[in-house]
Symmetry: D2
Subunit: 287 residues, 4 copies
């Protein structure tokens, strides 16, 4: 019975980089938070502190900045691919790279003026194993709400159940979505277009679904993405149920016909699910 | 030499209330976070635990919900006024009320569907002393950025100064603005219109000012609000300087002509200032 | 009717500095977050962008680090005094300085090993106007709880009151306390001793007070500090009522004799008050 | 090519429950944040909104409170086991349950008085599949620091490397540790004792290891736990490198012999690794 090193990785997390491109008076802005994680033949540093196979995380940070200067940032996905390939292909000890990027949106106010758009954060995760590359795009923090067309009835009633059925409730969630592309499409502009299109589909499915459960809404959102976007093979959704509870105003002598709600912080329902094509190639894995 | 009770107040903070109005199929949504603070003849509860002058904070919460049902929420400002007047006018022991409201914006996606707008949080503070009412509107979390037309030169150089002058830098800030209205304008819709107009002025002044210091930008923003909006008598701005520092890529053999920046978290410059009319009546005070 | 610059200040916020002192094998650690705010004759930078009276906030940061090296950090209070005096006394345009310091505690694990103590954050605010210096010490984030010896009865009942009287409840709060010293006591070690002693008094008063309201507890805490610590002239306390609500288990067939509680996030009661000596000199003000 | 529902789960997250036990005058306090996630035959609610297999998350919350009343909370681990078994064994549609618990520590101040201990958060994850149960204990937020006995040298130097070797640096991290027990040990008190013992081992290994890399420290911590605690079969550690960087005071004319450091927020190194017994049974999986 021995003690062994199991799965491990390391890297520099949360390198905040902004690139400004200046085409005459009209500037554009790209604002990323880049995290690098590398894995490979790293036993020596763990077992003996021999760092001869360790590319410093400080170097990884420098590389992010240098690549932003040298190659530009055509999209989060392309930038992640460049970085992932660089680390694996240039470092003999590194077999796999995972690049996680958050992108913050900015709305244009003028030729060189911008306002940060807090509606959502765009995400991209690139994995590369020296052979295959895999792109998972996503978004977080997109808060959606329907004031009607949502019910929750017909559920299991056990001795601890006190919830009455609801035939008309508010449904609200903060969408955390990740979708995996079938392959690495070459070319730059496509990633931005693809991301916007999938996002619009997710929103449209939330808006357009008469919901009998948040699970049903989740599945509808995932299914619609797969139906409308052939290049997507899998969608993972994490949907907190941001409860809006009808206030009981009877004790103060008022009715409340689905009008005034208390917004609860905790606890909250949490619905997580994956919708995928049945012939999708397996993912590179969540190492 | 005695020990005495000094300034004090109490209330219920952060009551989260959502009201839905249903005009046929088209619904509207108002989403507030309401904090109540009351002051007056409260010595007894402090000195002896005699609560006969204390309206429970739980009751204050109930009142927020009940008023949202009974009176609706025509605007954060009007709703705050209703609450402030109610507490002072109905409670003999209460002399002053302060209502702080945060309002979260939602963009319409459909007749009954909405997306939360994270661009900014609207604020309103209402103070009432039984005689005068005072409205301070505001916003927080509005992140603005100019990629050029900003410099910082000609500053004091002391033995600890190492900063080189900058003749072209990124200027970015998260606007925290509060503006005081001359009086309580009657009528409901005006508050929303006034808020949007002041907000637009703040943004336009940030965008349109060639900045030699963030202080200059601050003053320009305040001055423009006072010039364009006669009903505003005082503007207070808190502007963190969200530093975007040019990365030195020389050590890795690259130039960096104002292209790639590191976004710093801490420390940050913090610029705070007030711009006001010289004949403005004094505020009710920050008790 | 003109538009004028009102109160203003600027500085570098949240400079995170750690100093290590090495006395042979035994090391000590001081961990601060230092914010500088300066005020004075700063109209030019606001009105015209003339920075000739502006000491850069970057220089203020450098000064924090240089002073930590040159003078050491005998206490947060002394370090704040050194900085405040330096800025006002060396800069002709600066009339007043305010230094806000947070200090993070570390428990010793070995001669050179430490564990961060998350129980509370110590604070110090130093104001200096070229003549007088003022020290306000404090703490935040100290969460205290009594499982009994707390009631809340005899309060005002109005049409919106539904709260039943409680003759035995949990009382919990996160103490935010600030206390002003009578004068600037010379010497270093006293500040640490004084802080620890006042903290212990606050805790003892919370523990030892049978509470009929959180206001009563607040006053008892402040009064005890003034009684036991002659060098303190004023105590300001901000005490959120962290509600622990008895769960109604009747619907699932169980009693609940003050045993199981739900911890609420929002809304919460917020009790704020000052206890002071009636002959205390006025404070330098909260500019 | 069809579209199918992939892995999914649902539950109530972050139910905050406090239980008070009163043994005469001496009270004890247990403070948990409980999250439930259930999986099984849940296709119907996703595909058609048929909720006849769905136990409401509201019921799950009620169950947490009811179990805290009925069974008490002998430890986070035992409480998680009770809940996990209850949901799987009582619900025909539920095959697997995962209970995640955070426990907040309180230090005793008196018979019925407590102070929250912010040094760390204890965690427990219980998985149960109707047959096997699995306990993973852990902790988060434990910030440790060595002022010496840490170096980082001999690393890979590539064209982007600018970091100089460090032969004496500060090493600091916020420990996030999870350890899996070999089996479900019956009896209550053991879990608390086991947790405290593993925690002490982690701290001792951090303190006692001369570190040539944070990876080496990570492995030493994991190995020591496995060596000293036979009932643990696997340790997973996530260790951010909380960089303390020596300030370059040369430009202001001062040396800095490992004395004054800037504490960086972002980016940060992130070291993740698992240490395990080579004959450990596989885990129930991270569904």
């Amino acid at each position: 019975m021995g003690i062994v090193l199991g799965p491990n990785r390391y890297g520099k997390a949360e390198t905040r980089v902004v690139r400004v491109d200046r085409d005459g008076d009209r500037h554009t802005l790209t604002d990323l938070n880049v995290s690098v994680a590398l894995a490979g033949d790293l036993a020596a540093t763990h077992l003996t502190g021999d760092n001869s196979q360790v590319l410093p995380t400080d170097t990884q940070k420098n590389t992010v900045y240098a690549f932003a200067r040298r190659h530009g940032i055509s999209s989060a996905e392309e930038f992640g691919l460049l970085l992932a390939r660089h680390f694996v292909d240039s470092q003999p000890s590194i077999d796999r790279a995972r690049i996680d990027i958050e992108q913050y949106g900015w709305q244009r106010l003028g030729p060189h003026s911008f306002q940060r758009d807090g509606t959502q954060t765009r995400t991209a995760t690139v994995r590369y194993d020296g052979d295959r590359a895999e792109i998972v795009a996503g978004l977080t923090g997109l808060v959606l709400l329907n004031t009607t067309d949502s019910e929750f009835c017909g559920f299991v009633v056990d001795p601890y159940t006190t919830l009455p059925p609801a035939d008309d409730r508010i449904l609200a969630t903060a969408v955390d979505a990740r979708w995996r592309y079938a392959g690495v499409v070459p070319g730059a502009a496509d990633w931005d277009t693809a991301h916007a299109a999938v996002r619009d589909t997710l929103v449209a499915a939330f808006v357009g679904t008469y919901s009998r459960s948040l699970q049903q809404t989740l599945y509808a959102m995932g299914e619609r993405v797969l139906t409308d976007h052939p290049q997507v093979v899998e969608v993972r959704l994490v949907l907190p149920n941001k409860h809006h509870l009808l206030v009981d105003l009877g004790p103060v002598g008022l009715d409340n016909p689905n009008t005034v709600f208390v917004v609860a912080d905790r606890p909250y329902g949490l619905i997580e699910g994956t919708v995928r094509r049945d012939d999708a190639a397996p993912a590179l894995g969540d190492w």
